[in-house]
Amino acid sequence: MRGEVAIVGYGRTPYSRAKPGEPVLTVDEYIAWAADLALQKAGLSKNDFDGQGLGVAHAEVAHTVNWSAATAENLGISPQILLRADQGGASAASMLIRAAAMIHAGIVDRVLVVGADTPLSIPSAAPGLPLSPERTRGVYWDFQGPFGVMGASAQFALVQTRYMYQYNLTPEQLGKIAVNARFHASLHPGAIYRKPFTMEEYLGSRMLSDPIRLLDCVPIVNGGLAYVVTSAKTARTLTDRPVYLRGFGEINNYYHGSRALPDITTTGFTQAAPQAMKAAGVTHREIDFLQPYDDYPFIAMMTIEDYGFCKKGEGGRFVEEHDLRFDGDFPLSTDGGQLSGGQPGGAIGGFMPLVEAVTQLRGEAGERQVKNARIGAACGFGGIPYGRPGRSCISLILGTEP
């Protein structure tokens, strides 16, 4: 399926920290706003999706059953097929794969994929922090919340502690990823935090869940994103800069080692990334940038090594030895990532690596543009399984040529 579909439009709304006095938009308004931006970029209208496809990522904010169809109703579109992803931060990437398969099969020619969430507007058991009903139902919560597990920071801290026991990793190496993300955010008008910080400030930020610091944590925002994917044939009639899907790899509920007592320091990218690169026909050296799912610097570091850019256990050293800036030898999280850009809920942050990869490959990244970017890697990483790092790992290889 290499090069059979292409992304022809994308949109990312301004984000909000929902501070007092700011207008509070609903999730439906963010979806419409993001879709509007993506359609404008593609030169299409909503009516071009009657009889075609609509994809809707799940959200934590309360929504009705049949939500993808209800979203079609809100937008006044009558699609032939609906996609609905519930893979958290892998949802955007997974819907691209599903849409590509539908287009490949000749069922539809194009799909509009939308996602938005307003996690800061959810009434919460912990004031100021999101704790949605979707998180607090079922056996998964029953065996964590009452046990005292404090959300993603504690869950990932446990993975990081184990990693640091098995391999070498310094706070400075992770700090470099965080500092670099903030630097890129300073070059992205849409990032929520844009004032650069230093390594000293990173190291001095307070410990929240050892070894995870405040500046390791993703800031949550309200917002929405969208993209338009079409057949390559249609793409070429719409734009002279289609961004082709060259290859993809996906694995869900990956265990490294045994199911009962797995090694939690290796993610499913160790399977998904080689699969994607083989399908795309590219090697590591040909990849011009990596947009990881960077809700924590540690996750970005594990992604780098599980992609095979270095040996397992040497991700920290790799980060130390490479220039991660947009004009460096290993451009990483060139939009400021989620770390400094903001995460519109756990499900929608996964649109950001994809949208930034497309922005870069179209040469539309402005001050942070990677020169001559031709092939990029973008990640989806969704859900935190019990005692392990990531439920869904998706690798996408995108390119300016099919």
Partner: protein, 151 residues
Amino acid sequence: MTDLSTSKPLPTITDLTRPFWSAAKNGRFVLQKCGRCATFNFHPKPWCIECGSRDLSWVDAKPFGTVYSHTVSRNVAMNSPEWQSEIPLLMCLIDLDDGARMYAQVTDCRPEDLHIGMRVEVHCVDISEDAGIPKFRPLVASAKAGAPDAA
């Protein structure tokens, strides 16, 4: 007296999970064991994640384990504010002697003493009229009962 605080989050008890909560209420530590392949499953599953058998039954488990990883939660996040009184909270992944892994709080331990490989033992704490919850504490060196089988 055990703490009968009802402010912290309580589990929604189902027929599937009731044996676990009831046992802990009575000071016992039980796990689901597969009748076909003898795998211990945790958290509770609808079938054995190793072999797919629905023949799972709750059995008394060895109340010992080893710290696989640890963190110290220094604030309450994405959980009930009622946990504030237990901050700093020592949260671990414990590899149980029966071969399953679980999230659990370690008590009676200073944060700086917590380490991977530390041997720990279960103690059960009441959390409601219907449920108790297993927590762990460092195993005193003299307790031979905690020695790993194969070690």
